[in-house]
Structure formats: C-alpha cells, structure tokens
C-alpha cells in the first residue's frame, strides 16, 4: 500500500500539485490519469522521492517516507522499481548491463546468479535475444520492455510507471499493459501507472484517479468511470471521436 496525504508541490511559485490524498492498493494496478500537463509526472516523482513535497506526507506500508533521513530512504528505494516515460536506459550500457546494474551495485550475488536473474527477467518480458544490443538499437516497445526488466530485477514491492505506453502502437501498448498487470498480480506488487490512454484504463484500471489541473478530481474503478457524473472527467474519457459516437449510440 502506498498512501499520500495532502501533498502539494510548487515550482518557482507555481502550484503544480495541490492537496492530493490518495491510497494506492497492494496487488493492484492503480492508474493516475489526466491530460498532458496536469501534473501526473510531478505527482509520481514526488511519491518516489525524486521531488520533495512542499507539504504533506507519503507512506509506504506504514513507513512515513517523507520523514526518513536520506540514508533510510535509500533502503526503501531498493524496494522501488520505476519505469520512466522514455525508458531512461543507460545509453552507454547494453541491455544486459542495464538490467544487471542494480544487482552489481546492491547485491553480493555470484556471477552465475546474476546472469541467471537477468536472463529470467529478460525472458519474463519476452526479450531473450537482445542482451548485447545498445538502447539506440532498440525499438520503442523493446526499450519499455528492458525498462520493465530492469525495474523488476531486484524484486520490488512497489512499481511506478510513467506513461509506459506513450509513443507505442496500440497493439504493443496492450502487450506492455498486460505485462505490467501480470507482474503486479504475480508478485503482489503495489503498482502505480501514469497514463492518458483510455485503453489502458479499461483494460487494467483496477483503481483509477483522475488528476485535473494538479488536483484530484475523481477516483473510482474502470467500471465506474464510464458512468461518472463529472464533466471534466467525461470530457477526458470520451475525448476520442469514436468514444463520442459510441456514447451517442448508447
């Protein structure tokens, strides 16, 4: 479980996140949705500690993350996996080295154990033949899959994904969504995903939070979202021409 209470964040005097309180549930894919620029990335980075909130507290399973010292935070970070919007793979390292890096830095595993773990994680994301490639040689979908493999290599308890299928075609998006959903279920991880993709919401949105101009505007499940009585949310949900037509037909 991850919980934030009344967090706010400003940049140069401009409020980007305003008084947000949410509880994200264990073993579920929790979605943060909203238009681009609404503050999703800032919210996610504040939750993981890459930004410090101006106000409010963040809890990881009863540990108050915001009150921890820098060194204690490092311990929590080892339980966190994160998939960044662009993948954020280390350019100068191969796929294999990218996934292996956390093991090199933080475990005392033997060479064979590390190799086995990396092989397993890469096969888990269906990428068993790309070990020696560099990030610049990968397609968008492959980059996301390597990023997932790197995020789960340390067996995280919390998984954060910033727009995991932005820039991907619809089919690949579904593959990535299902991968993240499957991993969440398999290991009982608390997963938080930023997205503006309604497909993802309908497919894997077990809990959905709608952010509008830096505020929490609505929360519910993917079943409730279609019947929500909230004009801004409806504009977002039924933004595509196809969805509008389908709704009129209903």
């Amino acid at each position: 479980m991850i919980k934030c209470e009344h967090i706010s964040k400003s940049f140069e005097g401009r409020r980007v996140i305003e008084d947000i309180s949410i509880e994200f549930e264990t073993g579920k894919t929790n979605l943060i949705i909203g238009r681009s620029g609404s503050g999703k990335t800032v919210l996610l980075k504040t939750l993981v500690g890459l930004h410090t909130p101006d106000e409010g507290d963040i809890f990881f399973d009863d540990v108050c993350y915001t009150s921890l010292s820098f060194n204690d935070r490092k311990r929590v970070r080892k339980d966190i996996g994160m998939i960044f919007q662009g993948g954020a793979l280390i350019d100068s390292s191969t796929v294999y080295e990218n996934v292996r890096l956390p093991l090199d830095l933080f475990t005392d595993d033997s060479e064979a154990q590390k190799r086995e773990r990396v092989d397993y994680c890469l096969s888990r994301v269906n990428l068993s033949d790309a070990h020696h490639l560099y990030p610049s040689e990968l397609s968008g979908g492959m980059i996301k899959r390597v990023a997932i493999a790197r995020a789960i290599v340390m067996n995280p308890r919390y998984l954060f994904c910033d727009e995991p299928n932005s820039g991907l075609d619809p089919q690949t998006s579904i593959v990535i969504d299902n991968l993240i959903h499957g991993i969440t279920k398999e290991y009982g991880i608390t997963t938080i995903i930023n997205t503006h993709d309604m497909n993802s919401v309908m497919e894997i949105g077990e809990k959905v939070v709608y952010i509008y101009q830096g505020k929490k505007w609505w929360e519910g499940t993917n079943e409730e979202i279609l019947h929500a009585d909230n004009p801004e949310l409806n504009d977002f949900v039924f933004a595509s021409a196809m969805a509008k037509r389908a709704r009129r037909g209903k």
Binding site: R75, F84, G86, A88, I90, D91, D104, L105, F106, M154
Partner: protein
C-alpha cells in the same frame, strides 16, 4: 560537491568505471593533442629561427626556446584549453543528456548516488591521465621542432639538441604536471556540474555544454596565473 565525494557503493564497479573513463576521456584525446603538439613544436622552432637570425645569438637557443615554451605553457595551459573544448563539452553533454532523458533519475531510484557514480570516476580518470598527455605533448612538440630543423635545414639538428639539454630544470616539468592535474579537475568538475544541473530540452544540453567550455577555460586561465605565482616564483 560533497555528494560527489561521498563513499562509493561498491569499489569494484568504480574501478571499472575509472578504467572506462580513462579510455573515453584520456586515450581518446591522445590523437588530437599529438597532432596539435607536433605542429606547434615545428612552428615555434620555425618562428624562433626566423626572429633569432643573427650572428650574435647562438643557434642552440632555438632548441632551448622550443623546449621552454612547450614545457612551461603549451603542454599544460594550452593543452588544457584544448581539452576543455573536447573533453569538457563531451562530459557536459553526456551528463546533461542523462539528466534530461531521466537516466539520472533512474539511477537515483535504484538507490545510487548519481553524482558520485557519474562524476567521481571522470575526475579520477582525468586527474590521473591528463599528466601523461602533458608529458606526451612535450616530447612530441620537441620532436616536431627537431623534424622541422632537420628537414628545412634552417638550423643544425645538433645545435637544436644542445639547446634542448641546455639549463634543464626538472621542476619546470613537475610544475606543468601539477598544473595539468589541477586543470583536469577544473574541466571535469565544472563540465559535470553544468551537465548535472541541465534542465529542459536538448537545446539546453547544448547551451550547458557551451557554458561549461567557456567557464572552465576562463577558470583555467585564472588558475594558470595563480599556480605560476605559487610554484615558480
């Protein structure tokens, strides 16, 4: 700065990164510095032989002047300015790109102290390796002078060598090695700083890298005066 020098996570990884950076920042600079040195050494010898063309001035002074110029100023200060352009912009744009593509955030999330992980190996590699570039520069520059003396016949190679050995002070070489080590630190830390705090788009990375080169060059020139005052007088 404190973040850069905090205790590294695992020594083995740092050792590997230092070796990698020695290759990337040091070995890869040998070609450029060698080419420039050989031509500058030849040019100095040529210029000296033209301006010192007088029966009252012994020829060997040309070799002496070439050696002194190469050792005292060219091999450290000018080489450092060249390296600020090559290595400094490389460091700033590499780290700046890592910043804006969230690679630094990714390291932080893993629990890595990204400043120390990325910057410390570069500082160690350059402070350790750039002095070799200085020694190389002195030697190649002197060879360049010898070659021009020998091929054009503007002076006798024997006189040139006599000049090279005339009044040789080892301290001048050490002075240059100290200078380049300090300059290496200046180039790497300033460039890394501008990269690390880059924000926004790839345009900003370009600007950060230009600023890194300008600021490290000016800092080098100022420290050149300070170090000369401290070490030579």
């Amino acid at each position: 700065m404190g973040k850069v020098f905090s205790r590294p996570e695992k020594m083995g990884i740092y050792r590997r990164r230092v070796i990698f950076e020695i290759e990337a920042l040091g070995l890869n600079s040998i070609g450029l510095t060698a080419i420039i040195s050989v031509f500058i050494g030849a040019a100095i010898t040529l210029q000296m032989s033209i301006s010192l063309e007088s029966p009252f001035i012994p020829q060997y002074l040309i070799g002496y002047a070439t050696r002194e110029t190469m050792t005292l100023e060219f091999s450290s200060t000018v080489v450092a300015l060249i390296l600020a352009g090559k290595v400094g912009s490389n460091i700033a744009s590499e780290i700046g790109t890592m910043r804006i593509t969230e690679q630094i955030d990714a390291l932080e999330i893993m629990g890595v102290n990204s400043a120390s992980y990325l910057i410390l190996p570069k500082i160690i590699a350059t402070v350790f390796f750039f002095p070799f570039l200085t020694l190389l520069t002195i030697m190649i520059g002197i060879i360049g002078g010898y070659t021009i003396a020998w091929t054009t016949g503007i002076m006798s190679p024997d006189d040139y060598i006599e000049g090279l050995l005339y009044d040789f002070v080892l301290w001048e070489v050490i002075y240059s090695l100290i200078k380049i080590a300090v300059f290496a630190f200046i180039i790497t830390s300033i460039s890394a700083f501008y990269g690390y705090y880059a924000k926004g788009s790839s345009l900003e990375v370009g600007r950060a890298s230009t600023r890194a080169v300008v600021v490290s060059s000016i800092t080098i020139l100022i420290f050149n005066l300070i170090l000369t005052q401290l070490l030579l007088t």
